[in-house]
Amino acid sequence: MEARMRAITRVGTGQPARLIRLMGMVSFAFLAVGIFLWAFGKNPVRAYGEIFQGALGSTYGLTELLVKMTPFILCASATALPARIGLINVGAEGQLHTGALIATWGALTFGDLPRGILLPFLVILGFAGGAIWGSFSGALRTMVGLNETISTLLLNYVAVLLVEHYVHGPWKDPASFNWPFTAEFTEAARLPTFGSSRVHFGLVFALTAVVVLYLVLRKTRWGYEMRVIGDNAEAARRAGIPIGRYIVLTMFIGGGLAGLAGMAEVSAIQGRLRPGISTGFGYTGFLVSWLASHHPIGIVIMAFLLGVLALGGDMIQINLGLPYSTVNIIMALIFFIVLGSGQLKKMGA
């Protein structure tokens, strides 16, 4: 019957349309902050100029952008994978820290092994550190029904404090003049960087993760079953899809990806474990994933955008005397506008 009254009009709702809408909303956020800046007597055009100039105007800016994007993408993937089955993983920050912690243990203990063996081993340890942390929340959700949003959030604090404990205590480098640092990693434990820049091999992990995620979600049976769970868990259960297994597994892999970010930070950037290895990468990654509707390609685009903002934050601080939090306000505004408009659409307005 519907066949006969088909096709009067057709409005695009596909990927390109979604992207355009998203870009519209992002511009709106910039406009809103621009008005805000202008009201306080700052020139918004110049502020934005500084932000983009800072990130995109020089080779140095560009390489630093890639450095920033690496943990953003990994942590966003850690959020996106569980999100596909309806889980809200806010724990990438903690998973990043445990990944860094376990990788550091490996680097300090087996630092004398040859590089070809040690590095892959550290990668595995970093992944495992995050994966165990993530799947712990997944198991709690499956077995006792504890909400994963709460457990991942709380475990973030535990993970950060664990790192603090080890760098202030057992692993503190005696030669650090009482600074909370571990000893520096041996050369064999350092993840390679590209040329003289700080861009490191973690970027390869991040891009691989995105591509694999895309393929798994789009092409495989797991992607299909995960989409069913995310869309209607009751129907999934009745179709014999093992939901509990998927919960633990997506949290395991997601956590592992965040753990890789942590491993790369200590092994490539810092060369040692110390507090503050992450400036909220896990949370920014969360933001990136939600802005991108958990879509792998969208994640790269959004990581780029937020990377520009994060770098630009430094620039406007130095050149315009504006606080760094201006950038946080822009991020928050984008987030609200995107989430808000999604909510409105759901309500049929």
Binding site: E2, R6, A7, T9, K219, T220, Y224, A239, G348
Partner: protein
């Protein structure tokens, strides 16, 4: 001078992407009448009502109330104009009491409301129109019929003069339906106007003053109930299609049949920890339809779930093809050829945001796994789904539209076809014709008989005694989780089954 109708719709057209839901609708509704809107699923009834209620805006057309043009921009506006809608999914807060729910809905409520005063106002309305509900009961404790009455009281107290009911009977038991029609009468006697949406001819004949028939988004005509017959209405509603529902094409199953499912002394808990099934024992053979009669909520849900492995036995065992399947996983049971058409297909049977094609293979997806279960062969899926759509005459124009965009009846048909097409050995069918229109009901019944002919064992769970009697080879009656009767249909009659179902007669 010409009499001005209470409400007039002029030239209303509404399109959705790819669908013309309402086309140039003209309709007049008089004060204090019961006006039925009759049409098959997808005819555009709900869309039209949502326009009246301010939920959708029409693309073109005008609405006049008492002769003045009105612009109904929102449900709030509609309620200001005295138009109220009783939804199928009641907009009530389960944890609150009835009075609290009603108080919440009133537009001019003081910050501190007097419960006793509220209860009094409720009682007045309830007495007058036969809408009795305990004002102190929590909403979650109420039956569906009671919730519906709460909705009506709510609308009356908030000043509605015209009440829209969108398929209100689909959720009600037979005696509750009669009660609702009585309420309609009481309300119209007092000057209220009722707009009653349905696709059931019998109900129109039972309660309407006038009937407007919609077909494919357009008005076919408006007639007085007293001037028409079921036949004529059916003709208006369906057009050229055949009306004949041949429910007697029963053939005795051929050859020797084997036991497919056997339940032995099965006991399970219900959702509240009570006993959902008590000592249930019976068996079904291939090529047999066993009908389960009972008022819903008497163990039907638990029965299907225990067979599917979704609910564990407290005692007893479930045998599939002679093997003990009591501890099997859902996936294994599905793999052994058990199929289920659940009671609420949209909630339990599909992923609404995924496409019709993707949903069509949800329960037999294993057949399309390739490379050790890593990939799904979407080409093979496409071919198979197209074959199913063709063979079963599924009215799905585009396999890539998300299921949420299909009408409820079509979702139901999609799930039914999916479960049948994967050639199960046992089919558990919950209310396979509930909410379906005539044509679709016939299709569903024919499909069940075809399953039986193909040697599938069918467990048919229904509240419709007529359907059960005409389709079943054997009937079992459930009451409070127990099997209280087991007959051949010709050995019993509706009265006996009806009494057993309601516990009015000892087994």
């Amino acid at each position: 001078m010409e009499r001005i109708p209470y409400l007039r719709l002029e030239n209303i057209t509404k399109t959705f992407p790819g669908v013309l839901a309402n086309y140039s609708i003209n309709l007049s509704i008089e004060k204090s009448e019961v006006h039925a809107i009759l049409g098959e699923n997808g005819a555009g009834k709900s869309t039209l009502m949502k326009i009246l209620y301010g939920f959708y805006r029409p693309d073109t057309g005008n609405i006049y109330l008492d002769g003045t043009p009105v612009d109904i921009r929102s449900p709030l506006e509609a309620s200001r104009l005295g138009i109220g809608m009783v939804f199928q999914n009641f907009m009530l807060i389960p944890a609150f009491s009835v009075v609290e729910n009603i108080a919440l809905a009133l537009p001019k409520l003081n910050v501190l409301f007097k419960r006793s005063e509220m209860e009094e106002r409720m009682a007045v309305v309830a007495d007058r129109y036969g809408l009795s509900v305990d004002p102190r009961a929590r909403v979650w404790q109420l039956s569906v019929g009671e919730k519906q009455r709460v909705e009506i009281v709510k609308l009356l107290l908030s000043g509605a003069r015209m009440l829209i009911f969108d398929e209100p009977t689909s959720v009600l038991a037979p005696h509750e339906i009669e009660g609702l029609f009585q309420i309609f009468k009481n309300l119209t006697n007092d000057g209220y106007t009722i707009l009653f949406i349905t696709h059931k001819l019998r109900e129109v004949m039972a309660c309407a003053d006038r009937v407007t028939v919609l077909r494919r988004g357009s008005v076919v005509g408006t007639v007085l109930r007293s001037d028409t017959t079921e036949q004529e209405l059916a003709y208006m509603m369906l057009g050229e299609q055949s009306l004949h529902l041949d429910r007697s094409t029963k053939k005795p199953p051929e050859g020797r049949s084997k036991t497919v499912l056997e339940l032995k002394g099965v006991e399970v808990s219900d959702d509240r920890g009570g006993l959902g099934l008590k000592e249930v024992s019976f068996s079904i053979s291939s090529g047999e339809i066993v009908g389960v009669a009972g008022v819903s909520g008497n163990g039907q849900k638990e029965l299907g779930e225990v067979v599917l492995g979704l609910r564990r036995c407290r005692a007893g065992s479930v045998l599939l093809h002679g093997n003990d399947a009591t501890q099997w996983s859902v996936a294994r049971i599905l793999g052994e050829g058990v199929a289920c058409m659940p009671e609420d297909p949209l909630v339990m049977g599909v992923a609404p945001g995924m496409t019709a094609q993707e949903n069509m293979i949800l329960t037999d997806r294993m057949n399309y796994f390739r490379h050790g279960g890593l990939f799904i062969d979407w080409k093979a899926v496409r071919a198979e789904v197209e074959r199913r759509v063709e063979n079963f005459g599924l009215p799905i124009p585009n396999l890539d539209t998300p299921v949420i965009a299909l009408s409820g009846g079509n979702v139901q048909r999609l799930v039914f076809v999916r479960e049948v097409a994967r050639r199960p050995s046992l089919l558990i069918a919950y209310y396979p014709t509930r909410g379906l229109d005539l044509a679709a009901t016939k299709m569903a019944n024919d499909l069940l008989l075809a399953c039986r002919e193909a040697g599938i064992a069918v467990l048919l769970i229904s509240e419709d005694l007529e359907e059960l009697f005409s389709l079943s080879d054997r009937l079992i009656v459930m009451h409070r989780g127990e099997v209280v009767g087991s007959f051949k249909p010709e050995e019993t009659d509706r009265l006996e089954v009806g009494l057993l179902m309601t516990g009015s007669k000892a087994p």
